[in-house]
């Protein structure tokens, strides 16, 4: 059992929890994730690691409920327990194992979309702790959906906030900020973009034009998270990869986005859900963590 030491609502739709998980805390690195299961009948849900404290043995997770299982997580309080909390899963971000001196020569740009700010944070923090200040763009639909602004400010070089509706920071999508920054004379050697799939796809289209190598983090459907099921297949550079063990981070310019989105759409969009229900009736009885099931 894994105790929730702190449960906090970051805004109307995003939740943060600090969980007691010493083995995970001791070994996790930026870029990795965990799988969380609430109780015996629960589903295994992959979630982002937002922060970790090796000494205290805690891991911070941030999530936005999108299905029956994550809705259940959202109702959990400080002092409650997750039955299962396993990780760290996936590979650490590439830079973690790079030569630090080489890394210092890079000019890094992070692009975070919505709840994607959570997995970006530990990466920027790690770099900051190693003497590297990366620029960060954080985007959201509207002011209230911007998360972790203060935390990010403390570890980022320049922080650029943008909202789709212009209620806070710059006005427009993150892709526009990438273009604007370039026009303002900023140059970057590498970009890391994490957020909704559609945002990552368009970031990649933009950075491709700018010839800016871009890493993205995929979060497809998963069951075990250790390479056993193959549900998380993505096509990268024409090859089949398992996001759970080969990723979750990949070269965004090599991802077959249309296929990836088709795979995800089936579980994540309104139409997909309706289609699933139509095709499968009540067997798709919710809780896949991605679709909301019959709700």
């Amino acid at each position: 059992m894994y105790k929730i030491l702190k449960a906090e609502k970051l805004n109307e739709i995003v939740y943060l929890m600090v969980v007691d998980a010493p083995r995970v805390a001791k070994h996790c690195e930026p870029g990795q994730f965990v799988i969380v299961k609430k109780d015996d009948a629960g589903e295994r849900i992959p979630l982002t690691i937002c922060d970790y404290d090796r000494e205290a043995g805690t891991v911070t997770i941030v999530f936005q409920p999108v299905g029956a299982s994550t809705e259940k997580f959202a109702k959990m309080q400080t002092g409650d327990f997750f039955e299962d909390f396993v990780g760290p899963l996936g590979c650490p971000s590439e830079f973690v194992n790079e030569d630090l001196e080489e890394l210092k020569k890079e000019k890094l740009l992070f692009v975070a979309g919505g709840v994607g700010t959570a997995p970006v944070y530990p990466q920027v923090k790690w770099l900051h702790e190693h003497g590297i200040d990366a620029d960060v763009i954080v985007g959201a639909k509207t002011k209230d959906l911007i998360i972790l602004e203060k935390e990010m400010e403390e570890v980022a070089g320049n922080l650029y906030i943008t909202t789709d509706d212009g209620t806070y920071g710059r006005h427009g999508m993150v892709t526009k900020v990438i273009e604007d920054l370039t026009a303002e004379g900023k140059t970057y050697t590498k970009c890391v973009a994490i957020g909704p799939m559609i945002m990552m796809k368009f970031c990649c289209l933009t950075t491709k034009k700018l010839n800016l190598p871009t890493i993205v983090s995929m979060n497809p459907v998963m069951v075990d998270g250790t390479g056993m099921c193959g549900a998380c297949r993505v096509i990268v550079g024409g090859e089949v990869k398992f996001a759970c063990v080969d990723g979750p981070e990949f070269d965004g310019h090599l991802i077959d986005w249309d296929l990836a989105m088709k795979r995800q759409q089936m579980y994540k969009t309104e139409e997909g859900r309706a289609l699933l229900k139509l095709r499968e009736g009540d067997t798709h009885h919710g809780g896949c963590g991605n679709c909301g099931g019959d709700e």
């Binding site: 070994h27 549900a231 089949v240 809780g287």
Partner: protein
């Protein structure tokens, strides 16, 4: 008394009824049936059946006790060699092992050793008989990676010798392939697997779930920082293979591992569990092994029309005859000598069909089986909404890639001595599918047993 040349028949659920539920297919023997079947055993002095058993159970010994109605004694005899009799009685390929060598089998049918073993284990459970706890602890710590058949056996044997054993399991439940792979209707999870795991725990073995060695911690850390003197790797062969044909990433194409894990481990077939599973209307399972049969019979129970698509003929099906027989009885359609070449998807990326080509058998290949060759111009399309790939599995590289000095062969299998499980790294032993590639439960148990001996010798040698 029936015909002494024939096995006492075992009662089974009616095929038409069981095709719609997940209850166990075979009911097993009752007391009277078991004693009658046991009486067929000739109690051979130099019993061949024992040589056919990978863990060398004293088969005539336990059957003699059954014959006389001493079921508790029979359980003790089996317990000397096997930690998982309720499992083995159900899933061992007895026809090629113990029963295959039974003298009774020369003239008639062999003694139904598997069903007798199952009876004894089930009887012990119903009567609350637990294996005997170990004598004194010797204070030496051993780590076992993976709570599947190899790991549970190795841990049980070491605990009996007095070792302080901890099993580290990656999933949230112990059992390995017994919980994620083999379906409920062949191996009931609560009644059988959980009970066997409890029996191993009763020997003093600790099980820590949710620990992925290679991620949550490493073998080197276990040995250097957590005080484990030796490690046994029984991490299985968990990585699914795909064909590499076009369209294989379409929605509705699953590995058998995914399909079975959803149904077995996550209990997606039950409405009171959250994990979903796709219930196809027309399903093709590609492959002909036991796992293919399990996936096909699961899809059938979820309400689909199910086809087994296999590129060789019936004689070459790698699945056990009993499984093929059960599958056919339940209405699985066998499309043999047939090989998929492409998966066809609709505009939303969902499977709508599969292109196949007819095959014929040519000359024998390296495996000794006749090689299937395509018949030119025989391409055709099957209309489907789900495809389950059951082409075998390979060992997970998570451990070998994070353990310095642990060598693997070109199939990613850990190199280990067959005699004692010794690997290329000092103090580290391995066995089961992680070493051999996908094989059977009982072979993995045999390897776990040998490794327990190897580890015991290693630790004794070190401390002398």
């Amino acid at each position: 008394m029936g015909d002494v040349l024939k096995k006492v028949p075992v009662r089974e659920q009616d095929p038409k009824v069981r095709a719609t539920n997940f209850e166990e297919v075979c009911y097993g023997y009752n007391k009277e049936e078991a004693m009658e079947e046991a009486a067929r055993c000739l109690t051979c002095k130099n019993a061949k059946c024992v040589k056919g058993c990978p863990v060398n159970i004293d088969i005539p010994g336990f059957i003699k006790e059954v014959k006389e109605g001493n079921f508790e004694e029979a359980f003790k005899v089996i317990g000397q060699s096997s930690a998982l009799p309720a499992v083995c009685g159900r899933v061992c390929p007895q026809e090629t092992q113990c029963e295959g060598l039974c003298i009774r089998g020369i003239k008639g049918e062999p003694v139904s050793i598997g069903k007798l073993e199952r009876f004894v284990a089930d009887w012990a459970k119903e009567n609350g008989i637990k294996p005997e706890p170990p004598k004194e602890k010797n204070g030496h710590k051993v780590a076992v990676i993976g709570a599947g058949p190899a790991g549970l056996t190795c841990a049980g044997d070491l605990a009996k010798m007095g070792y302080d054993v901890t099993i580290f399991e990656a999933l949230h439940q112990p059992g390995g392939v017994l919980v994620y792979g083999i379906p409920e209707f062949r191996l009931p999870k609560d009644k059988v697997v959980k009970m066997e795991v409890e029996n191993v725990k009763a020997l003093g073995v600790k099980i820590e779930t949710n620990v992925i060695i290679g991620k949550s911690t490493t073998i080197d850390e276990l040995m250097e920082k957590e005080g484990f003197e030796a490690v046994f790797i029984g991490s299985g062969a968990g990585l699914p293979m795909f064909m590499g044909i076009p369209g294989e990433i379409s929605n509705g194409v699953f590995s058998a591992n995914e399909y079975l894990t959803r149904s077995n481990l996550m209990k997606a077939f039950r409405d009171d569990h959250d994990t979903p599973i796709k219930m196809g209307k027309k399903v093709a399972v590609v492959g002909g092994g036991n796992v293919a049969m399990d996936a096909a019979r699961t899809a059938l129970r979820l309400g689909a029309e199910v086809h087994i698509v296999y590129r060789r003929s019936e004689a070459e099906l790698p699945a056990r005859a009993e499984e093929v027989h059960h599958a056919k009885e339940e209405g699985i359609i066998f499309d043999l000598l047939c090989n998929p070449t492409e998966i066809l998807a609709d505009e939303n990326g969902w499977v709508r069909g599969m292109k196949c080509v007819r095959m014929e058998l040519g000359e024998p290949d390296a495996s000794g089986r006749r090689r299937p060759v395509e018949i030119p111009g025989s391409e055709f399309e099957m209309e489907l909404d789900t495809v389950i790939m059951s082409l075998g599995t390979s060992p997970n590289p998570l451990i070998s890639s994070t353990t310095i000095g642990l060598d693997t062969n070109k199939r990613k299998c850990i190199i280990a001595d067959e005699e004692n499980g010794k690997t290329t790294k000092d103090g580290v032993y391995a066995g089961g599918d992680a070493v051999t590639g996908a094989a059977t439960v009982i072979l993995a148990m045999g390897a776990g047993k040998s490794a327990a001996q190897g580890i015991d010798e290693f630790i004794k040698g070190k401390n002398n």
